[in-house]
Symmetry: C2
Subunit: 443 residues, 2 copies
Amino acid sequence: MKVVIIGGGAGGLPTASNIRKLDKDIEITVITRDNYIAYSPCAIPYVLGQTIKSFDDIVMKTPEDYKENNIDVLINSEVSEIDHEKKELTYTNEGQVKTMEYDKLVLATGGNSFVPPITGSDLDGVFKIRNLNDGKNVQEWVKNCKNVVVTGAGLIGIEIAYAFKELGLNVILNEMLPQIVPKSLDPDMASIVTEYLEDEGINVILGKPITKISGEDKVTGVVIDNEEEYPADMVILATGVRPELELAKMIGCEIGKWAILVDESMKTTVEDVYAVGDCVESYDAILQSNTISQLGTTAVRQAKTCAQTIAGKKSKFYPVLNSMVTKVGKLEFGAVGLTTHFAEQNNIKTISQKVEAFTRARYYPNAKPMDIKVICDADGKIIGCQIIAEERVAERIDTMTLAITEGLDCFDLSNVEFAYAPPVSMVTDPLVLAVEEVSKKFN
Amino acid sequence: MKVVIIGGGAGGLPTASNIRKLDKDIEITVITRDNYIAYSPCAIPYVLGQTIKSFDDIVMKTPEDYKENNIDVLINSEVSEIDHEKKELTYTNEGQVKTMEYDKLVLATGGNSFVPPITGSDLDGVFKIRNLNDGKNVQEWVKNCKNVVVTGAGLIGIEIAYAFKELGLNVILNEMLPQIVPKSLDPDMASIVTEYLEDEGINVILGKPITKISGEDKVTGVVIDNEEEYPADMVILATGVRPELELAKMIGCEIGKWAILVDESMKTTVEDVYAVGDCVESYDAILQSNTISQLGTTAVRQAKTCAQTIAGKKSKFYPVLNSMVTKVGKLEFGAVGLTTHFAEQNNIKTISQKVEAFTRARYYPNAKPMDIKVICDADGKIIGCQIIAEERVAERIDTMTLAITEGLDCFDLSNVEFAYAPPVSMVTDPLVLAVEEVSKKFN
């Protein structure tokens, strides 16, 4: 059997590796447009900010490494045609057009950065950050910059803005919506992060879109909300990612509201065609309806499921909660489940509570404040959690992810055991304090 | 209604505070032998090692603070008699004998350090560390010490040994059993901690008991295993805690294998008598039988349940998993559930796996190695987890505690979502790597 995987990101390559772990004989080829593979795009901002020395450090494997594992990875290669009746595809590689047969096809085509329809978005000095080449281009261009504007205050936008600040540049972080991280944080939590970014010297401009990027050949400034013009030597568009669906449509895979429809074994609606990663829809564990979960962790888990399916093993991809975390400077923040806004938009009444706690015993040196918000539905069932502190956020998000996955309510969780020692936690864990507080609202 | 609570530790005082939160009118008196209250005994080693400046820093509240909340705390007071038919107790306070009536009685009498039957254990310079006064006495005595011996390599023993090392002393850490932390760590995990302690310069002597403490008036040395004598200016007995049961027996409370028997609402077998903390037996969530859980966190949670019961609210104390964590120098380690040895001693067949992972993305600066061992029963159900790393252990133990509480098996957990960003985790979380590895043993 021959499996061809189109796309070499967090969906494609792990699908290949996982198939190989389960089956020594299946022929596996990965075809990717990129020239770099096996790196975490999430690491790009940390290279730009020089926390990680070089882009070379984040590349974990080469095509040769995969070859050792009997996986062919064709880089700089783009699939142009698929004849699924014949099970044959056409691709170009360094100008040459070639064909390849397959038995099973995996679409791991990812997504493309959304470029908002703004005058000037095609100027030199306007970048998106989607892959390692983008990162290298930005790294080169930034050397001659003083003023940069990042538009889109999701995780990547914030991380990039902070990276530029670390380089000593004047940075504007702009977001059309009235808060940063609108997908994952409630306004009261987002404002804590905003304040931190402002304290670090980033000019955060919220609730206003960029309406024009100025410049002749290269960018010289941006106009925000048709009003003020700000000087800019570089503009980063961090305005989201749209699934790449062209090949899926060519084959006739059914497309949902946003992306390719797959079942829980990662099969598309077309026989012998599978799909994983940013180009598929996932099922939301709380809303019980389709969603789009463009996270590396989701892609990696889907890849595992897809490989199990192809290798003929029991496989199931579970509904998602979109658990996320990042660290920007000293500040770590993360979230899981629904925001208050998103829940209510979906007709879920919420009861929530924000508490302030500490990362260690109050009296222990370097105990840091920790802000936690827990969001419950009207029955007390936990549907979301957001945490901000200088340490120990990620794993608490994981605990809450498990709590939500298991359907716990705030009363249940307030009785669960938590480990304690003064250097690493409070005697009553911040999470317990939070669920105890929200529990009171149900009395 | 008047409630009298005997004992001012992690069981007694939180019972008082929790009752007050639920009911403004109940009269509450706490009677304690101690002169300091409302501190975390777990913090004592960190004061001795000068990480925390002073014992004053760890005392969170005074009797006057409790008085403001309409709770009477009588310090330096010892209950000598209880006439439960009359509901009257007799106590001494500064030489004066007094009586007090009550409606409900809470026994939070804790435990006493076990003093092994060794010649010389009554010499000056031999200490146990149970309360803040013990800590202060040790702090004073250690000023004139060069060589110290700590016997008993549970958490407190290790923490104290490390504290003395930080003071620049020659330290022997001795344990009768062939490994440190025998209650919570498997030998292969314990040896990682042992190696760290040895690298830090502590002389760890395992598998041999102290057979004699030498000295005329004050300690001058210890004999280990009837053989070698080591010089010692101080000996710390960290050889465990025995429940204090005298008053419970006086009243006629039923005693189990180790301690006072209570139901899930913290009632003893005697009407209107409750008990919490180190002096009661808990129910082990995995073994489905009684156990003794002498953890501050257990006491605090029992206090919450006991207060709910007394205030006439719904209350339930859940079975325990004895989740624990500590940090010694740079090394954080924790555990939850059963060790392999303890499981097999209880006729539970185990299948386990130890993996080595990292606390951050491999390429991220300061990514630290993390050792994780996951222990499953023969069906793959997770029954224990042990983790060692320089950071981010405690919350992972909490996630595993919740996983065990919810009855997850290793296959379930390997599909759960975990949050990822290069500065704070690996794209596949160390916990997932561990459960994936152990899962393979079931194929």
